[in-house]
C-alpha cells in the first residue's frame, strides 16, 4: 500500500545530492535556502572551515538560482539589467555582477557565465524571475529559463581541489584561470567546471545535469578520498567568505525589492562595488541615480574592520569615540578569523565619519552574564585573507 504524505506540499525540496549528504550529516544540522533543505554543517563547522583552507570541501549550491538566458538579445538584455559591461566578459568566462532598481539600490548580486555570444547563465542567491521578466521588456529575441532544478551544482574549494579534479580525470583543468569555464565529457553528458567560488581560496564550481549528480558526487568523492574531501555547509561558507571580504545578502546588504524602508538597502558604491558600475556602456537600470551618487559620494560605506581584542563584534553599533558620542554605523558581519588570528568584521559607516576614529560597542555573554566592551577598530582595505594559490595557474597540488 502506498501512503500519501499529507504534508508533501509543505516539505522542503531535496537537492539531487541529498542522498549522499544525508549520510554525512551526522549532526542533522539542516536549514533551508530557496525551498531546499540545506546543511548548516555536517560534522563540525570549524573542521569544515579548515577543510576549505587546508584540504578541500564541497558545498551544495543547487538551491542557488540559475537562469539560462539565450538568444540574439541576451547580451543586450543583460547589459541593460546589470551595472557592468557584459560585452567585456569573454566567452567561457564568468563575471561577478550586481543589478539595481531605478533608484540605484542593489536588487541582488550574482555571476554571469558567458557560454557563447548568445548564451549566458545567470546565477544568484534569491529567485529573480519577476525582475528578469521586467528586465527583458522590449527584447523579443530572447529566452529566459529557470534551470535551477535541472542543473546540479557543487562548489569544490580548497588547496587540494585542483588535484582532486585532475585525479577525477578532468585533464587540463589546471590550465583554467580564475573565472574560466571549461567543459568535460562525462558519461555521455557534459560536466561544466568554472574556476569560481565564494571562499577566496583556490576552488571550482561543478555544473552537471541533475540526473548525473550522484555519479559526479561519487566520482569526486572517490578522487578526493586521499585529499581530505569533506562536505561543508553554510557556517563554514560564511567564515571563509568573510575572511575573503565577500558580501552576503541578508547580512551585508538587503535586496532592494524586499526592503520595506528605502534606506535599508544599499547601492554598489556603498558596498565598495563601484568597480562594477560602468557608465561608459549604454543605459542600464539605475544609471541616472548611480551617476548622481558618483558625483555626491555615497552616504554610507561598507568597510573592513580589524578590531582590537578577541571579542567578535557581532551586531555591534559603531561610534566615533570611546565615549559613544555619536552613532556612526553598525557591524554587518563579524567573526574571529582562524586563518589570520584577527578579530574581523564588515561594517556600514556613515561616509562623513569614515576617516575618524571607529569604535565598536561589543556585548558578550560569559556563562550567561552579559559584558560590554568598547573596542577600537582600524580599517583594512585588502581582503582579510588571501593566498597566491587562489590566483596561480596552474595551481599547485596542495
Amino acid at each position: 500500500m502506498i501512503t500519501i504524505d499529507p504534508y508533501a506540499g509543505e516539505r522542503l525540496k531535496l537537492s539531487p545530492f541529498y542522498i549522499r549528504e544525508k549520510e554525512l550529516n551526522i549532526r542533522d544540522a539542516w536549514s533551508a535556502w530557496n525551498g531546499y533543505k540545506f546543511a548548516d554543517y555536517y560534522y563540525d563547522a570549524e573542521y569544515e572551515y579548515f577543510c576549505i583552507r587546508n584540504q578541500c570541501g564541497t558545498y551544495d549550491i543547487c538551491p542557488m538560482q540559475k537562469y539560462a538566458i539565450q538568444g540574439p538579445d541576451a547580451a543586450a538584455m543583460l547589459n541593460r539589467m546589470v551595472t557592468r559591461d557584459v560585452d567585456k566578459i569573454g566567452t567561457n568566462r564568468v563575471g561577478y555582477a550586481v543589478w539595481c532598481t531605478d533608484e540605484g539600490r542593489i536588487i541582488d548580486d550574482g555571476t554571469i557565465f558567458k557560454l557563447a555570444d548568445d548564451r549566458f547563465m545567470l546565477t544568484c542567491g534569491s529567485p529573480c524571475t519577476a525582475w528578469l521578466r521586467k528586465s527583458a521588456f522590449g527584447f523579443n529575441n530572447l529566452d529566459i529559463t529557470d534551470v535551477t532544478d535541472e542543473i546540479a551544482a557543487l562548489s569544490l574549494q580548497g588547496p587540494t581541489s585542483c588535484a582532486v579534479l585532475k585525479k577525477m580525470g578532468l585533464t587540463g583543468i589546471e590550465t583554467a584561470k580564475p573565472f574560466d569555464v571549461m567543459h568535460f565529457p562525462f558519461h555521455d553528458d557534459t560536466l561544466m567546471v568554472s574556476r569560481t567560488g565564494f571562499t577566496g581560496d583556490l576552488g571550482y564550481e561543478l555544473w552537471i545535469n541533475s540526473g548525473r549528480a550522484l555519479t559526479m558526487w561519487d566520482e569526486l568523492y572517490d578522487a578526493g578520498a586521499d585529499y581530505g574531501i569533506q562536505p561543508y555547509g553554510e557556517t563554514a561558507t560564511d567564515m571563509a567568505r568573510l575572511e575573503a571580504g565577500f558580501i552576503m545578502p541578508y547580512m551585508d546588504f538587503n535586496e532592494a525589492l524586499k526592503t520595506v524602508h528605502f534606506e535599508h538597502d544599499q547601492t554598489p558604491f556603498e558596498l565598495g562595488l563601484g568597480w562594477l558600475v560602468d557608465f561608459e556602456k549604454p543605459h542600464f537600470s539605475g544609471r541616472r541615480a548611480l551617476l548622481k551618487e558618483q558625483q555626491t559620494g555615497p552616504k554610507w560605506r561598507l568597510v573592513k574592520l580589524d578590531i582590537e581584542g578577541n571579542w567578535p563584534a557581532i551586531e555591534a553599533i559603531m561610534y566615533n569615540d570611546e565615549e559613544c558620542s555619536e552613532e556612526i554605523g553598525y557591524v554587518t558581519s563579524a567573526m574571529w578569523s582562524p586563518a589570520v588570528k584577527s578579530n574581523i568584521a564588515l561594517a556600514m559607516i556613515k561616509s562623513e565619519f569614515i576617516d575618524g576614529e571607529l569604535w565598536a560597542e561589543i556585548y558578550r555573554a560569559k556563562e550567561l552574564r552579559q559584558y560590554r566592551r568598547m573596542a577600537r577598530c582600524s580599517k583594512s582595505t585588502k581582503p582579510f585573507w588571501t593566498h597566491t594559490r587562489a590566483r596561480s595557474t596552474p595551481p599547485a597540488d596542495y
Partner: protein
Amino acid sequence: MSQYDAIVIGAGHNGLTNAAYLAKAGLNVVVIEKNDYIGGAAVTRELYEGWKYSNCSYVCSMMRQALHRDLNLSRHGLILVPYLGTINFGDGDERLFSYHDEQAAYLELKRHSPHDADAMNRFQADLTRYSQFIRKTLLRTPPEPTSFRPRDIMEFLFLAKQLWRLGEREIYEYIRFFTMSAADFLDDYFENDLIKAAMASPGIIGTALGVYSPGSSYILLHHVMGDVDGNIGAWGLARGGMGAISSALANALQEYGGEILTNSGVEKIIVDGRKATGVVLDNGDQISARIVVSNLDAKRTFTQIIDREDLPDSIYERASNFKIRGSSGKVNIALSGLPKFTHVPENRYINRGGQGFTGSMETMERAYDCWKRGNWSDDPFVESVIPSAWDPTVAPPGQHWMSNFVQYCPPTLADGCWTPEKRDAFGEAVIKKIERYSPDFRDLILHMEVRTPHEIEEEIGLTEGNIFQGELTIDQLFFNRPFPGYGQYRMPVENLYMCGSSTHPGGGVSAACGANAAREILLDLKCRNTVPKDDFYDE
C-alpha cells in the same frame, strides 16, 4: 431623571472603549444599548445549544494592542490567538495554501507561478511599507486641513515626516495606490489568477466595490494592515468568540465605575438650544448628561435620532448621502464534524485555518455584478473560518462551527424587500458554493443562521448592514470621515460626539475610533487624558 457626565449610545466595541476611557478619567458614564446583549457587531451568541457563534465580526487583527494592554483586557478575560493560513479555492481544482513558514509559502507559490513566488516578496515589502504609515495614524485624531491651529499644523508636520520616511519614489506610489483598484494594484505584481484573486479578496470584504473598482486597493490594505503581535497581515481569533472582546471592554468599563443599560434603545437625542443635553429612550425615560456620544453610524445618528430642525441643513444632507451601502451577508453554521475539502491534503494543520472560496478575479467581479443588479450571486465570494478548530470553547468537542462571510449580498433586492424565503435561498446559494468543494458538507450541518444586510441592520442597527459604518473610500476617510469638517469626533451640535466606525480610522474591531473620540472629549471637558499613545514594532 438620571444625570450623567456622558451618555454613550450603543454598546458596540467602540462605544464600550469610549466609555471606558471616559470612566477612567473619573467621569460618570452610562452606555445604553437597544439589545439585551452588548457588543454590537463584536458578539458571541449561543443560537444553537452548545455552539457559540461570533455571528457578525469573526476575526480580529486591528485591535490596537496599546489599548488592549492599557485597559487590562487580558485580565478581563481576553486572549487573541493568531490562526494559521487560509486555503484559497479556485474555480476548478486549483488550491492555494498559505503558510506562515517562509520556505513552505515560497514553494506553494512557486507551484502556481515561479514568477509570482518571487514577486510576492516585493508585494509584501510594499504592503508592509504602506501599512506602517497608515497604522501610525490609527490612534491619532486626523488634523483639520483648513485649520491653522498649532495642533493641526503639528499633526500635518508629523504626517509629512512619516510620509517622507517612505522615500521619494514611494510617496508617488502611495498616492497612486490610494485611488487604484485592487486588480490594477495586483497586476503590478502577479500573473497567476488565483494568486491575484486570493490577494484581491481583502479588497472587497465589506465594501460595495468590486476588485476592478477604483478605491478597492485601499480596502485591501485596510484588511491587511492589522497585526497580531507584530506579524502584519496576520489574523487572530478571540478565545470565546468576538464577544470576548466586548465583555472584556465592558468589564474594564465597569471596573472604572461606568454603567451599561441594556434593552434601552434611543428614541432621540435631546437638543436644547444648540446643545445636546441627553436622550429619550424608547420606553419614554429620559437621561440627561453633559455630553452625548453616538456610537451609531453617521447616517443613523443624523437622520434617525436627531430632529432635523436641531441640525444645520448641510449635515442632514451629508448624512442622507453618506455612502453606507450594504454588501455583505453572513452564514453561521453548526457542524457535526470538521468538513473535508477536495484537493486538500488531510493534515493536522492545513484544514484548520480559513477557507477562501475565492474562485477567480472574474468570479468575484461577476458576484459584484449581481449586487449591482440587486441580486445575490449564485457563485459568491465566501470567506470562511472554522474557529472551533482552534477554540475549544465555541463548539462541543469534535464538532465545529463555521463562520461564512459572503460577498456580495444587497440590502434590498431588485424584486423588493427581503423575505425569510429569499433569505433562505441566499443561504442555500452559499451552501451550494461550499458543497462544490466539500461534497459531504451538507450532511454535517446541524444548524444554520443566515444573515443578509436586512438582518444585520435590524439587529445591530448598522445602516444597510454595512459592516464598516460607511464605505472606506478616500472621500470618506481620515479628515473626511464621517464628513469634511467633522473629522475630529465633535459634531455640529454642541456636546455631541461620535465614536463609532463612521469616524476615523473606520471599520474593523480596532477600538481606535472609540479611544480617539475619548481623547477629544476629555480635552473639551478639561479632564486628564486617559488614552494611551499607540506603539509600533517598526520604531
